[in-house]
Subunit: 79 residues, 2 copies
């Protein structure tokens, strides 16, 4: 079962990578961009067919390893 985890910095946490990309886009002439935030997208292939169980398992993975919940939010999608 494919599971997609999106990890983004929480609102209010400074995102230097996003700022750098925003600046670079401006340098390339893309002036219509107001803001850029950069996070991670983690694609997991989890064994089993029980969607609820998979979601619970992946939530544990996020809490323990995949996201730093002090500064990051995560969302889990079953694909």
């Amino acid at each position: 079962m494919k599971v997609i985890v999106n990890v983004q910095l929480k609102n209010g946490v400074l995102d230097p990578q996003g700022k750098a990309v925003h600046h670079a886009l401006g340098s390339l002439g893309f002036n219509s961009v107001n803001d850029v935030r950069i996070g991670k997208q983690i694609l997991l292939d989890v064994a089993g067919t029980d969607a609820e169980a998979a979601k619970e398992e992946v939530t544990k993975m996020c809490e323990e390893l995949l996201a730093n919940t002090v500064i990051e939010d995560y969302t889990i999608e079953l694909a």
Copy 2:
């Protein structure tokens, strides 16, 4: 207008970061994971309300800066 760009390594391109996370998950006792791939999720706030124009603009950004199209694929979603 919010635009989400997901950038992932192409199939067949080695993903050392994914391998490392896969190994770490195994060490933590998550043995149900078959594969891990890690990419970027870029959230853009683009001026304007024309969805088609925004998508075209963001496609150009991807080709020029956001993705390395030699080794990465990208998808664009309007949120």
